[in-house]
């Protein structure tokens, strides 16, 4: 009986002042991890908030360490640079690979083949 207090209102509505990302979407991402069985409301809230802090932190440090400061811009290469150089953002290197020109890639491929041919 004590459990059916009027909780009809969406609990996330309370959090609207403190977080802007949708809690439901964050829950979906968390649940997509196979070994997670359940997540309590506080943990869900904290993860959502942490994700917002993460976005801010990633954007700001990439801007500050990037090369777009004069042009007032943030580009993909600034992010890739941050992922590569910063220890805490290192887990992003897989999804933020450094871009190289096809021309350079082909050149290095050619070089590798030449080296192979030498043997």
């Amino acid at each position: 009986m004590s459990k059916n207090s009027p909780e009809k209102a969406d609990p996330s509505s309370e959090a609207k002042k403190t977080i802007s990302l949708p809690i439901s979407r964050v829950r979906l991402i968390m649940k997509s991890s196979p070994d997670v069985s359940s997540i309590n409301q506080d943990a869900l809230f904290l993860t959502t908030k942490a994700t917002e802090l993460f976005v801010q932190h990633l954007a700001l440090s990439s801007f500050n360490n990037g090369c777009g400061k004069e042009t007032n811009s943030l580009s993909y290469s600034d992010l890739a640079k941050t992922a590569e150089e910063s220890e805490t953002f290192h887990f992003l290197t897989d999804i933020l690979p450094k871009k190289i020109l096809a021309r350079d890639y082909l050149k290095s491929l050619e070089q590798m083949q030449e080296e192979d041919a030498d043997f």
Partner: protein
Amino acid sequence: MAEKPEDLNLPNAVITRIIKEALPDGVNVSKEARRAISQAASVFVLYATSCANNFALKAKRKTLNAGDVMAAMEEMEFERFLEPLRAALEVYKKGQKGKKEVSEQKRKEKKQADGEHEKNKEDEEGEDEEEQRMEEEPEEGEEEVEN
């Protein structure tokens, strides 16, 4: 269960707003950079979840709790988030608690004055309706139709 892959993305509009708020005024963020940050955020959620889950497993719990998430942040070397997270959680909990107290009080009143609870309910429902009406004010701005 069967979810579309795009369900695992975070809403672009919200991500863009958070980026804008973090950077100095007038910084131009390329579309590619925004998409990359959004994807990075999804990966961050998964990474944090997996770390937090390890802490829960170690403690033989099946449910992730706030402590697990905090421990995960520390392990991921995002200690700088701990303080703001604590503060935000407090605000959040206060909101939740306020709600609970209201409903608990309602219940007590119900028990004490079994006959009078009808009146209370009516009053509250009246308030609710008013709030809804305010929120549902018709939006007549149709500026975007023209494009």
